[in-house]
């Protein structure tokens, strides 16, 4: 993104004392932006205070988007703990796999740490797109919020339907929400922006996403496992719903692996979008099979691994004494995959790290869950997983997309 040679500052005479010259003063804006765009958000908090010029360069939508392109993502996990009739908000965490050293020690993989992100405890996480969270207020139905934890901004996004997707439209480069409403004949889907702009109808379909989540999609396509009205399972051939943001259209595709027994449905199959790939995992008896979508056009899935879940449970202290059998396996969730290491959440037992090569497992401490007063491991827990990039993207830049509430609502 060169601004052209004409933006270069004129060469200064070398007769001046070079040591006293402000180096940055001689660089054009595009180069200063190139330098600052490489900094992480915490460093940008310092950089924005250095001088007026740096503030002017950083506090723009253009810089925020450029910075997002370079930023690496982390996996955030939100455990939704349910003890009839209440949902508990334990907190929102991101998985820290540790800094990548230039010369990694072979074989040594330190366990990941789960770090708390401060977010309002009256909200549940549905999903994340770039640096923005989409949250649902727990006490009020259909009250949604977009929140950027870096800039502290939050904006309510009232919606009549259930939001099931939050994505960046690949052509318009604007953020969009996909939602559905249940009708007597099925589910009515529509897409709209983050404000009062006209919404676009997508159509009526027989199925809705099985989980209450809002994925952001992989390469412009969003994916969900689906159910019909009253939770009826669709046939295997229609078990995965895919939404194309470009075409504003759905299609229904079969899940990988063998066909399921009609009585069981696909309740043991789960889909997760992670790090730009789509994974499906299924738990059958004591094995977890994981597939990854290699090619969308041909709908080609490749088996990534089969994990034997018959672990020596005596080596791992159980949090819930009532869990004595392997019954709970079917609720196990795949949380993260990185460099041949899997992170698995086992309700009732905790978080485990599984190495694909050595087939070893380690229990990963999760301080908040382990020590929370509500004895979270006794509860039915489902974890919402999303990809997050810390970003300065201010909701003010997206203001044209919003109801104009004014700045007082932005904190």
């Amino acid at each position: 993104m060169h601004m052209g040679v004409s933006r270069c500052f004129p060469w200064r005479s070398r007769t001046s004392n070079g040591k006293k010259r402000d180096g940055f003063g001689t660089l054009p804006d595009n180069v200063v932006v190139d330098v600052l765009g490489r900094l992480e958000v915490d460093q940008l908090k310092c950089a924005i205070r250095v001088c007026r010029r740096w503030h002017a360069l950083i506090a723009t939508a253009h810089f925020a988007r450029l910075h997002l392109q370079r930023a690496s993502s982390v996996t955030v996990v939100y455990p939704l703990c349910f003890e009839d009739p209440v949902y508990y908000n334990v907190g929102l965490f991101f998985i820290d796999w540790g800094s990548m050293e230039k010369k990694p020690i072979a074989g040594a993989k330190s366990p990941p740490a789960l770090r708390d992100i401060t977010v309002d405890r009256s909200c549940h996480l549905l999903g994340c797109c770039d640096g923005l969270f989409i949250l649902i207020k727990t006490r009020t139905a259909s009250m949604y919020e977009i929140h950027n934890p870096v800039t502290w901004e939050r904006v309510p996004v009232p919606h009549k339907g259930s939001i099931c997707g939050f994505f960046l439209h690949p052509l318009s480069n604007k953020y969009r929400l996909l939602s559905y409403r249940e009708t007597p004949n099925g589910f009515w889907y529509q897409v709209d922006g983050l404000g009062p702009a006209a919404c676009i109808d997508v159509g009526m379909f027989r199925y809705r996403p099985r989980e209450q989540e809002a994925p952001s999609g992989v390469r412009g396509r969003l994916h969900w496992m689906v159910v019909g009205k009253e939770g009826v399972s669709p046939p295997c051939s229609h078990s995965i719903m895919v939404f194309s943001a470009r075409e504003n259209a759905f299609c229904f595709m079969p899940h990988p692996g063998d066909s399921c027994l009609p009585s069981k449905g696909h309740s043991n199959m789960h889909l997760v979008e992670m790090q730009g790939r789509v994974y499906v995992y299924a738990i059958q008896v004591k094995f977890m099979s994981i597939w990854v979508l290699e090619d969308h056009a041909s709908w080609q899935w490749v088996k990534k691994c089969d994990i034997n879940l018959q672990w020596n449970l005596n080596r791992h202290p159980v949090h819930d004494e009532n869990v004595t059998s392997y019954e709970n396996y079917k609720n196990m969730q795949l949380i993260d995959i990185r460099d041949g290491e899997l992170l698995l959440f086992w309700p009732g037992r905790g978080l485990f790290q599984h190495n694909l090569q050595s087939q070893t497992i380690k229990r990963v401490p999760w301080p908040f869950m382990d020590g929370f007063g509500y004895d979270t491991y006794r509860m039915k827990t489902r974890v919402v997983v999303a990809e997050y990039k810390r970003s300065l993207l201010s909701l003010q830049y997206l203001l044209s997309d919003f109801f104009f509430f004014g700045r007082k609502y932005l904190l």
Binding site: D22, V35, C46, C51, R53
Partner: protein, 164 residues
């Protein structure tokens, strides 16, 4: 400049003589650079393709001292058979210079549109900014255009999150 490899006994054609381009710095010094190395610079590449690079290309914005080093960088990066690790080490040594020189390299890379050198220079400066407080950054880079108290307040008002 390494000599061209000798032709093998098989039917490979004899290597062509390498085309040289001459650059002239702002203070009149001239430097020869192989065409393959010069192609690292988009500015020079455009000139070569438009046949402007007949004999001499003036580079008025860059002094001889800096241009010599830039030519060295492009030549090194155009060399065949250099593995990534040793190139990385060479790059690290290349940017182990004082701030003034480093900014000279960045300006030259921007003017001549050399993506590899620009990337290296900008990353080096970014690494220097990491871990420093705003005051330390001002001191390190001798940034004198500090905010007035009123301007500081305005920045604080708009970006409270940066001051937590």
């Amino acid at each position: 400049m390494s000599s061209p490899p000798s032709a093998s006994a098989s039917s490979s054609p004899p290597p062509c003589p390498k085309k040289m381009i001459t650059l002239r710095s702002s203070d009149g010094a001239t430097f020869e650079i192989e065409e393959t190395a010069a192609l690292q610079s988009k500015t020079l590449e455009n000139m070569i393709h438009e046949n402007c690079a007949s004999t001499l290309i003036p580079v008025p914005n860059i002094t001889g001292e800096v241009l010599a080093r830039v030519v060295e960088f492009c030549s090194k990066h155009a060399e065949a058979g250099v593995d990534d690790e040793s190139l990385g080490a060479w790059d690290e040594e290349f940017v182990a210079v004082d701030h003034t020189t480093l900014f000279d390299y960045i300006r030259a890379a921007n003017f001549l549109e050399i993506p590899t050198l620009l990337d290296l220079g900008c990353q080096t400066v970014a690494d220097m900014i990491k871990g420093k407080t705003p005051d330390e950054i001002k001191k390190t880079f001798k940034i004198t255009t500090a905010c007035t108290p009123e301007e500081e307040e305005e920045v604080r008002g708009e970006n409270q999150w940066a001051f937590e």
